[in-house]
């Protein structure tokens, strides 16, 4: 299926049609018109184009149009032969270092590195001189000109695959080097190699035409396009058609190969996306006052994939709220939607999406930039590695608050101090790589503090950190909330982390909130079967070591797999027909405690 994606783009489809025509010509032209192309007609020597001879005739009166058609087989055949030899040689040279002993591998690699430094056509000419004029010489010349770049490509791709765990796993299992190469490495790099081979075939074709044109390729009485071009060129001022015919053939065939390769490469890079997503349901509640009000939030991607499906919650000033969920539950996308960071082609819709009493889409960037702070999981990728930390922090105040360079930098130092980074003046002048993971995460939080944030959204801020550092970062978030009465939305897969720090917990599953409750009640009064199962499935330092851990059968659904009914039903011990048919809404069942489940309070209390 994936191989056919290349045909979906206009370029891919038209180049595929061209290639098919070329192959058909290569097969059938000599059979159909071979005699006509060879027929000598002494009455019609060196004629120009006419109805009888579309491209005119050559010095023996042979029809050039048919000769061009018939030459397709030799031209394309030789180009492909050269490509196959070149690609195979390159493949061997590129992959053999992984099988050879180290010193030998080094020699091969160095030889390839030197060969890559020479332009391909120069190499081809060099080899053509060595191998002598003639078809075989030209094929080998072009093949060996292709080989070095292919060898290099193979080496690079092999290196990228070699670092993967499955290679290490196979080594541990005692798989030999040769088998490792043929069974694990080559199949995983085949796709880019095939694409590049197609491109190489295009260049081989033009290069071959070049050699024949110069007279060091195909020799008479054989003829290919390059040779026909050379013959036609002698009288181009009298009659251009005999030269233009083969020239056009070369260009079209070269283009067909190259464009097909390009289209295949493009298809390899981005996988196709499907149709337009359905609109979310209308209707909802009136907005209430809160710092952040979210009602019926949907995030949709092309192909009808909706990872966030009607999320509603409110964050009040100075509150710390935890969002718990597994990968694919939509928790991170909810956070991104709230900070207007969902990227194309994702679309965000909501009945209400208000920040600070104003619709989010009408909040100016400047206000959002200073009042809302975002902390991401990986602090390494959220800083620009080429700029000093202090400057990156200062930029916020320069852009959003109109500070001077100096004042902004001083503020940056002050904020780094506020997140307890020791020696902030010196640290501000350092680059991100000079910071440890925990330090970088603090710097990220400091960046959020450059404005006057009323809301800090922290998406898995401690997942990449060690436990001792995690504790410090969580404490820091708690302090920001206390000192600045900022609200914090803490997103985490770790229910224990959330339980330790937050006032309220939102539990997300399959793009929805399935339970919302105060943290104090999490371990005593959680009701949703997913929440209770999660609490039992995760070991902590007080878990009974002799009892098996509770297991939730199955796995969470992918956003594309959600059908009708409650998405947790396939894993739920209590599921009944109703659960499979209809998805429950989030309903209040005590003040501050909402659950999306069809089961009654007494039934739910039973599973705990």
């Amino acid at each position: 299926m994936r191989r056919l994606t290349v045909l979906r783009s206009p370029v891919g489809a038209s180049s595929a049609v061209l290639l098919t025509v070329l192959v058909a010509l290569a097969i059938f032209a000599p059979i159909l018109w071979g005699d006509r192309a060879a027929a000598i007609d002494t009455d019609a020597l060196q004629q120009g184009p006419s109805a009888g001879h579309l491209l005119g005739t050559d010095q023996l009166g042979r029809d050039i149009f048919y000769r061009v058609l018939v030459a397709t087989r030799l031209t394309i055949g030789l180009a492909l032969l050269a490509t196959v030899i070149g690609v195979t040689t390159g493949l061997v040279l590129g992959s053999i270092p992984s099988v050879l002993p180290r010193w030998a591998a080094r020699i091969v690699t160095s030889a390839v590195n030197i060969a890559v430094a020479f332009p391909g056509l120069l190499l081809a000419l060099f080899f053509a001189v060595i191998f002598g004029t003639g078809t075989i010489g030209a094929v080998l010349a072009i093949a060996f000109a292709i080989a070095p770049s292919f060898a290099r490509l193979t080496q690079t791709l092999t290196a990228s695959v070699s670092g993967r765990d499955f290679i290490a796993a196979a080594k541990v299992c005692g798989v030999g080097r040769f088998r490792l190469l043929t069974r694990h490495v080559l199949p995983n790099i085949a796709e880019p190699l095939v694409i590049n081979a197609t491109l190489a075939a295009g260049s081989a074709l033009t290069a071959f035409a070049g050699l024949s044109f110069l007279g060091i390729g195909v020799q008479a009485p054989s003829y290919d396009w390059g040779r026909l071009l050379g013959e036609g060129l002698n009288r181009i001022y009298i009659s251009p058609a005999p030269a233009l015919g083969p020239a056009i053939a070369v260009v079209v065939a070269g283009l067909a190969f190259n464009l097909f390769g390009e289209a295949a490469a493009a298809g390899h890079r981005d996988q196709p996306r499907g149709a337009v997503a359905p609109r979310p349901r209308a209707g909802g509640q009136e907005p209430e006052d809160g710092l952040l009000t979210v009602r019926n939030l949907h995030v949709t991607f092309p192909g009808g994939i909706t990872p966030v499906r009607g999320v509603s919650f409110t964050v009040h000033n100075g509150e710390m709220i935890g969002v718990v969920g597994e990968s694919g539950s939509g928790k991170s996308l909810t956070a991104l939607a709230v900070s207007r960071l969902v990227e194309h082609p994702g679309t965000v819709t909501a009945d209400t999406l208000q920040f600070n009493g104003k619709p989010l889409e009408k909040t100016p960037d400047r206000e959002l930039g200073t009042r809302l702070a975002m902390v991401f999981q990986d602090p390494m990728t959220s800083f620009n590695p080429t700029k000093r930390i202090g400057r990156q922090l200062a930029e916020v105040s320069e852009v959003h608050q109109g500070f001077t360079r100096k004042a902004a930098f001083n503020k940056a130092v002050d904020r780094l101090k506020a997140v307890r980074i020791p020696d902030p003046e010196r640290r501000a002048k350092q680059y991100p790589h000079e910071f440890s993971g925990g330090m970088r995460q603090r710097a990220m939080i400091a960046m959020g503090l450059m404005g006057e944030p009323q809301l800090v959204i922290a998406d898995e801020p401690t997942t990449a950190l060690d436990v001792t550092v995690q504790k410090e970062v969580l404490k820091l978030l708690a302090r920001i909330r206390k000192d600045r009465s900022a609200a914090v939305l803490l997103i985490s897969h770790d229910i224990t982390v959330v339980a330790q720090t937050c006032d309220r917990v939102l539990v997300m599953y399959a793009g929805r909130i399935v339970e919302e409750l105060p943290t104090d009640e999490l371990f005593t009064a959680a009701r949703h079967p997913y929440t209770t199962a999660l609490l039992k499935a995760v070991p902590d330092l007080d878990t009974d070591r002799n009892a098996p851990l509770a297991v939730i059968p199955g796995r969470p659904p992918e956003p594309g797999e959600i059908g009708k009914g409650c998405p947790f039903a396939p894993r739920c011990p209590l599921a009944t027909d109703q659960c499979w048919e209809e998805e429950p809404e989030l309903r209040s069942f005590q003040p501050g405690h909402q659950v999306a489940c069809w089961k009654s309070e007494s039934e739910l209390a039973g599973v705990r």
């Binding site: 765990d165 290490a168 770790d494 902590d540």
Partner: protein, 235 residues
């Protein structure tokens, strides 16, 4: 008797000492948990046991084959090879591979009919079970589990941990169980070793190390581990 022993193992990368004079034994039929933070040298130590890395000095002794299960189930299985072939590849002798693959898949609670599936058809938890089955196919004396649950969703972690414990008891395996998560290590291990900056700073029976830690760093780790009923206050 020990199934796996490290004697004064040191691994250096240039000037950096990743593992610094480590001596550790995995007693036969027991699980030794190895905890420590990122960069403490846990994974490098494991790599020396399976021959992926040569110790700069010191040596590793085993009385049988050592197999390893890796952290990321999405990267540890060849995406172009069926899971049955991946498992069969690790078998030492040419006996009835098909039946053996089926037996191993059943052992890790997977449908033997899935042997012809490619890894892409499997969830993370299922892949990790395949990785376990592959490790067992080598008929190892010792299995090294390197952070095998940290890439999994929390709701499937438990199933993998249960499986590890069951298999270990059923087959009498010896295991080196590496994790940064104290709660997970505590749940599966008989003994616990704590690693910091390339050195083992404390080692002993699990209850003793966790209940009465001797080293300052072990105490620090225990204090930092998230607990359900203690609230973190603002720093």
């Amino acid at each position: 008797m020990s199934a796996l022993g490290f004697t004064n193992v040191t691994v250096r990368f240039g000037h950096h000492t990743a593992v610094d004079d480590v001596s550790l034994t995995v007693p036969s039929g027991q699980v030794v948990g190895l905890v420590g933070e990122s960069g403490s040298g846990k994974s490098t130590l494991a790599a020396t046991a399976v021959g992926l890395r040569k110790p700069t000095s010191g040596h590793v002794t085993t009385d049988g084959r050592v197999q390893m299960v890796f952290q990321d189930p999405y990267s540890s299985l060849d995406p172009r090879m069926t899971i049955g072939n991946s498992i069969a590849e690790a078998m030492p002798r040419r006996k009835d591979k098909k039946a053996e693959v089926a037996r191993l898949l059943e052992l890790v609670n997977l449908d033997p009919g899935r042997a012809t599936s490619l890894p892409a058809r499997l969830s993370g938890g299922q892949r990790q079970r395949v990785a376990l089955a592959r490790a067992l196919a080598g008929q190892p004396r010792v299995v090294i589990a390197d952070e095998i649950t940290s890439a999994l969703d929390v709701s499937v972690q438990g199933a993998v941990l249960n499986l590890v414990r069951d298999l270990q008891r059923q087959l009498g395996l010896s295991m080196l169980f590496i994790s940064h998560n104290l709660a997970v290590v505590r749940y599966v291990s008989d003994r616990i070793a704590v690693m910091k900056e390339g050195r083992i700073v404390e080692e002993g029976p699990a209850e003793q190390v966790l209940g009465d830690p001797r080293h300052e760093y072990t105490r620090e780790l225990l204090a930092a581990a998230p607990r359900r009923h203690t609230r973190l206050e603002a720093s």
